[in-house]
Symmetry: D2
Subunit: 296 residues, 4 copies
């Protein structure tokens, strides 16, 4: 099998390597010529056998739409676009409609695994028509982890279902991380009782109810930098968490831990203090004469 | 009527003034001789007619216990202690038991109103036996706001009920403040849309569903310092909020907004960043290679 | 002054009455002929002096868009549409653009006060160009509560600002209600301590920090039905709360109490139990052998 | 090695079996003679070589205190009590003090693993003096999972540290479960998009960021009962979650996801509806004339 791969950043580059290691021929394109196999998307398309399969691995939003649009002008009926980026599922409806006129097929793929995917394989959630999933199965089998297919791959539904599943996956991920982090802060705070915080997390890796891959990563991080002396508590978020909450709102599903996780990140990014808490401090001062901390 | 008042801080001092303005004779004692009417609690007790009534207005916890203990040695059967401080309701059980042997009566009084109480009167929630409430009613009538008694005073139950009601009052208060503060931050953030944040809050003072005294105070604070330029978003908490959550936990009552309000205050007091968010940042770095903000 | 009013439901009908009581002539239209002054929007437009002012008071969303669209075909340059419904602020951008070609002016008005507005007046937050606000000021003055204009009315910004302010107002409102409700549940649960729940809330109406209009309504409700024996704990939400959270997400503003309030409502509407909690019960059963409550 | 084991319920019974399978001789006592090796604690103590080691595995609280008290009267200086139950860490201070006079040693052990511990081993967190930990190490090695000792066992600190670590472990566990459960509800709700909810969770088991043991259990539960038709969404809590929040409050540590998890369980146990939400419904009715659902 021989496919095209547009986008060779941190994720795309690793995926090319894993695909090739699993005997999938890959022609990759990236704006950065240093990593690119070809000099243009057009050239990439020309290099592929029909039906062509092009995997897109670029930032969600406008960049993905631009690539889909460009491919719409280059591909032919029966060719297949797979969006493996972190697109919102609603984008899949738009993108698939954009290429449907020409008979170009479309599959969306949620990909999890981060930088570890190269070695461990990627968890895959895909959406689209069965015939297209079948067509691309060798790619999915190359990318997914070893072991039973159904433990690292799912055909979750029609177009959009892959990114929908990935969105929820990431919403859950946010809350899982926050849960461990709250426990960490509490253990760390009571250093009069807990003499070995890293060792405590490490001991949870086998036998306990909370064992997980994230726990292993937390142990790894603590072993590298106990007490996180070199890390600021400033945390970005990449969209899927917010989308999960928006979906929850639209469907009247309560998501208190997922939203708490996102809000904690928002607060972490207010280095000059929270406007809301200034208001609370001002209020306390008004009714109780409680002193406020004046800005120096 | 002539009563004793132990504790002449910000609250006690104002209360003495309001009581006197309502023709209650007050002998006040404070460790600070500059504000004290007598030089000792013993002297205070001697100055009072029987049955003596002594109102305690000192910091909750050990200080209150010490005053109750001292009074237990000075008062006689039929005398009445009223704890008007912010004691936890469980302290009332302890304090009343401590004086019960000698036949000294006990009432607990939750007092709300802050620095405005001198002029506006204090909202009162009291607990204790009816005969003691009746005995002290002239005091309550002097302290409470003008208007119908039942709109500024309640005999909520037996000993402990006054402080219990005050505890819940304060738990609610925390959440109310946080609610306005969240709205403030959102209005403030979208200054491309909302051109007059202070004016918007001001306009909510009449006719709207959210009108309240706290809203009026927020308007007052904003008029003094729009955008809170001179205030740090650092907010203390004084115990009742935490106790409310502990009570909620003990009784399986969900209190998501009250707990969110307390946690927001905790975060506001982490000027060097949240340990939990350092853990989340470290985790993201581990799995995704997401860059972390290094401490300089 | 003589204006048109489209939509004579619970709110519109009351507003017509209040406007007329304040010497504003009103021609009202509603699909329900029993309350309508004219038989069509066209007839309503014809009845008005120029520049015509038409206040829309119909359900947000498609219904409002349909009325704006119909009016766009009937009004002329210089006429003014005021949307007083609960539209999302983004709709204002769309609706004003829809009528801008013809030179029809547009103002959005957030209106708070519910069924009490007829007697007390409505809190008003408006957005739009100053000349249009000035033109409509007699209407705003008639609708708003007595007292200083700025305590019941604000020109919050350009088009959209009125509904934006109203959206945030309602988000706050949700959290305020939830705060009192959590306190209520705790007081109610400890009926061994608090012997007079209604009396406790009633006593908070004067002097306390938590006094508010919502508190007065809660007292009123408790006096009508102590312990809420005739009420199900099933609570709808009308959109603004969700929009507030979506705006908060879009602007990275943490809103933990507002979101907790919405989620509490979502849960309240799951009479057959929460799917999430079934999952938690199933998990506990899996790892701990904890028995689950089987559905009968 | 030969030890005593008091308490042969679901956990204790399995632990006896695992210990024996690892060549630790065990004399077990339980009130239930059907599972007991001896007829009394006294007989158990007599059966043990010195220094005697007695592992307690009974319900936390009064039952554990009663067993410790009984053992205090039977054991001698140098003997060792290990409390492996789910005691609050503060109980360890009390229990160890209770036996210290007689020179009886004390270790607390947090044990995780549930019904799976028999086969997989138990995650262990212990607190106490090093000499006692060393003495009991063969027991810990028998109980903990295979693999490196430090991945299933930690000597977390002095007396109390083991249960402290277990308490935080369980707090985290609550939030992890809630996180998956929220994701489940969202996937389940959008069955128009996600055609295979079980398959989606199953596919997360390898390669993804959210893979964990709890995820595997959720898949197991879903395969047994997709959509949880036979399970009520009624979830108990066993103490550690509440204690975690109390500790967080006492130490000003924000724990929004852990508290959200507990509150979700509280709500799940209100089959007749939430009093708080009745209050919200009543409030909406008061100001907006929103209809309430009347109890039939």
């Amino acid at each position: 099998m021989h496919i095209g791969l547009v986008g060779l950043g941190k994720m795309g580059n690793n995926m090319r390597e894993r695909l090739r290691a699993h005997d999938i021929e890959v022609t990759g394109f990236d704006r950065n010529p240093a990593v690119s196999d070809v000099s243009s998307v057009e050239e990439l398309v020309k290099a592929l056998p029909t039906p062509r399969i092009v995997w897109i691995m670029v930032p969600a939003g406008e960049v993905t739409t631009a690539v889909v649009t460009e491919l719409a002008g280059l591909l032919e009926a029966g060719d297949l676009i797979i969006d493996g980026g972190n697109s919102r599922f609603t984008e899949d409806f738009k993108h698939s409609a954009l290429v449907a006129d020409k008979g170009i097929e479309y599959v969306d793929a949620g990909v999890s695994g981060g930088v570890w995917g190269l070695a461990n394989g990627y968890g895959l959630m895909v959406g689209g028509h069965k015939k297209n999933i079948d067509l691309a199965m060798p790619i999915f089998d190359a990318l997914r982890p070893d072991g039973p297919r159904e433990e690292g791959f799912v055909h979750a539904g029609e177009i959009g279902a892959g990114h929908y599943a990935k969105m929820v996956h990431n919403g859950i991920e946010y809350a899982l991380m926050q849960a461990y982090a709250e426990g960490y802060e509490l253990l760390d705070k009571r250093d009069d009782i807990i003499k070995d915080v890293t060792g405590t997390f490490k001991a949870w890796q086998r036998g306990t109810v909370v064992r997980s891959w994230l726990l292993e990563l937390l142990v790894r991080a603590l072993e590298q930098d106990p007490e996180f002396k070199d890390i600021e508590g400033y945390v970005e978020d990449s969209g899927e968490g917010r989308w999960t909450i928006e979906e929850a709102l639209a469907n009247a599903v309560p998501v208190p831990t997922i939203s708490a996780s996102i809000f904690a990140r928002f607060v972490s990014r207010q280095p000059e203090g929270s406007p809301a808490m200034k208001a609370v401090a001002a209020l306390r001062n008004q009714f109780g004469g409680h002193s406020v901390k004046a800005v120096d």
